[in-house]
């Protein structure tokens, strides 16, 4: 199985244990609080993805056709979801990232946070992550 999908399935299994939205959100908030996700030097205008509601910073590194991501947000729920997205996509092959279908967000019931109407920067961040995948893959061809 494709490694991106197996991580997604892992997360879906983990979330199946949560009884209600409160537990789910508490977990996301903990993720958001506990992880220092990005080097301070990358929290600048160049790495900023502006949302109406919250802001996101994204940095990508490439090594041997694989892309690693670090990211951050000023809002803790957004940051918690970023932690999940990074867990799924970071360290994967550029080609796989470019064509990834991120079905886990819907399955764990957090779809609303990845809706364009929320304008929290996450939709643009996912787009940007895939763009990195696409660009790095094209370069290596």
């Amino acid at each position: 199985m494709n490694p991106i999908n197996s991580i997604q399935d892992e997360i879906i299994d983990e979330f199946a244990f949560f009884g209600d939205w409160m537990e789910k959100y508490e977990y996301i908030i903990d993720l958001g609080k506990s992880l220092p996700l990005i080097d301070e030097q990358y929290k600048d205008e160049d790495h900023l993805i502006k949302g109406c509601q919250s802001q996101v910073w994204l940095h990508a590194d490439e090594a041997e056709g694989k892309v690693s991501f670090t990211a951050d947000s000023d809002a803790v729920i957004t940051k918690g979801i970023i932690a999940l997205l990074v867990r799924v996509l970071s360290g994967q092959k550029a080609e796989e990232i470019a064509k990834a279908d991120l079905y886990f967000i819907d399955k764990i019931g957090l779809k609303e946070h990845l809706s364009p109407t929320r304008s929290n920067g996450l939709v643009s961040m996912v787009k940007q992550m895939k763009m990195y995948g696409l660009a790095i893959n094209a370069k290596s061809q």
């Binding site: 939205w21 409160m22 959100y25 908030i29 109406c52 509601q53 919250s54 803790v76 304008s119």
Partner: protein, 412 residues
């Protein structure tokens, strides 16, 4: 027995007029505290729209047949209702637009092309909504004019001395908000209009947030332009009103070209229709206008006196209750406020708070409220805003306070 106004205001009965208030959100009874973004609609307005489409629809000002004439009468009757509602001298001065945003764009573009030239200035304030900033920026850039911005103090009030300082003969128009959507501040528009008129400078008032809460009399204000949206005053979306003094509107070129706004058309030359039709190109939002007329009737049936008193009670109660939450800071503490409370909680991002309140069935607005320069003024990314209409009650505020406490516990 005579019924006093106070007795006549029955909040439980009023709430039953609004079907949406009986709905659920995320499995919880909805607590709707976002009326400043868009208010809910009473059954009277919804039924009128339904009735119009089922039994009364035809294009207006065109057909000789009965149905079209009846639609035209209903349409123009709504204009007359709006005229009386804001006490405009003439129905020629009541122009239907898509909303407050279009009202401002119309004036900026049409008045601007006629009266604003190189080296002139437009004066706005630091608490304007983007819709009262960007249209002026656009016309200033086009005409080579300067956009001046009157500052706001820490409480969220316009610094009047600074505003008057910026007001000189180079200013060709002043455009300012009556009630701030982000702070709730009620601005002393009458005083500013009088001052501008001493220099013969016209004033546009963005009344989007004022009209749901207070009686507006355009003649008493002596406003040159006053614009507002239907959807914030319990009417349909997509319809709004621009009031303009006839003396200005007559001098201004049309904004959009098309049907309805013309008198004669040849390929060489078109002559324009009379006011207000000169500014109403194309088939108008007929149902929107009729629905707006019904919303006016509905507001009048409740009465602004009742609305103001009830909303003031809600504002005072909400302010008291919210201030008791540790770390909560209200942004916008002007002496004169409408029923809008914007706040932030130390260490809690507005988005996170809004996301948890959503799960609890509580609808609030979070973010910069389309007032980015104002948020920059307070050095905050945004706020959480609870706004109240006359259909809200103290239980809504109690639910909000309980929701914030719960969210803060999770987030901190």
């Amino acid at each position: 027995m005579e019924v006093t106004a106070q007795q006549a205001f029955d909040i439980d009965k009023i709430r039953k007029d609004f079907p949406l208030l009986e709905q659920e959100m995320n499995g919880k009874p909805i607590i709707f505290l976002d009326s400043a973004a868009s208010s809910q609609k009473p059954a009277q307005v919804i039924d009128r729209l339904n009735d119009y489409y089922r039994t009364g629809h035809a294009n207006v000002h065109r057909g000789v047949y009965q149905l079209s004439q009846e639609a035209t009468m209903a349409f123009e009757e709504a204009r007359e209702l709006v005229r009386q509602f804001i006490n405009a001298p003439s129905e020629k001065e009541v122009i239907f637009v898509r909303g407050c945003t279009e009202g401002i764009n119309l004036v900026a573009s049409s008045y601007g092309r006629k009266f604003i030239n190189q080296g002139d200035a437009v004066l706005i304030t630091a608490m304007e909504h983007h819709s009262n900033i960007v249209p002026w920026q656009m016309i200033c850039e086009e005409r080579g004019a300067e956009l001046r911005v009157a500052p706001v103090n820490d409480a969220g009030e316009i610094d009047l001395d600074a505003l008057y300082e910026l007001l000189d003969e180079r200013v060709k128009i002043v455009s300012l908000v009556h009630v701030s959507n982000a702070l709730g501040t009620v601005n002393p528009v009458k005083a500013i209009i009088d001052r501008a008129h001493e220099l013969n400078i016209p004033v546009l008032v963005d009344g989007a947030q004022a009209i749901p809460h207070t009686q507006v009399d355009v003649q008493a204000l002596d406003a040159d332009f006053y614009t507002f949206s239907g959807h914030k005053m319990f009417g349909p979306t997509g319809i709004g009103v621009l009031y303009g003094k006839e003396e200005w509107l007559e001098q201004m070129p049309p904004y959009h070209g098309g049907g309805e706004m013309i008198k004669t058309v040849t390929f060489e030359k078109t002559t324009y229709n009379e006011l207000p039709h000169k500014f109403e190109a194309g088939t108008p939002d007929i149902s929107g206008v009729i629905g707006l007329g019904e919303a006016v009737r509905y507001i009048q049936s409740i009465g602004y006196e009742n609305i103001s008193r009830h909303e003031h009670e809600l504002l005072v109660y909400a302010t008291e209750q919210l201030e008791q939450i540790e770390g909560l800071r209200i942004i916008g503490t002007a002496k004169e406020k409408a029923s809008v409370v914007s706040f932030i909680v130390d260490g809690v991002h507005p988005y996170d708070l809004g996301a948890i309140l959503d799960k609890l069935g509580i609808a609030v607005r979070t973010g910069h409220h389309c007032t980015q320069p104002l948020m920059a003024r307070y050095e905050i990314p945004g706020t959480v805003r609870a706004s109240f209409a006359f259909y809200n009650n103290k239980a809504d505020i109690d639910a909000l306070v309980a929701g914030i406490n719960r969210a803060v516990l999770m987030l901190k």
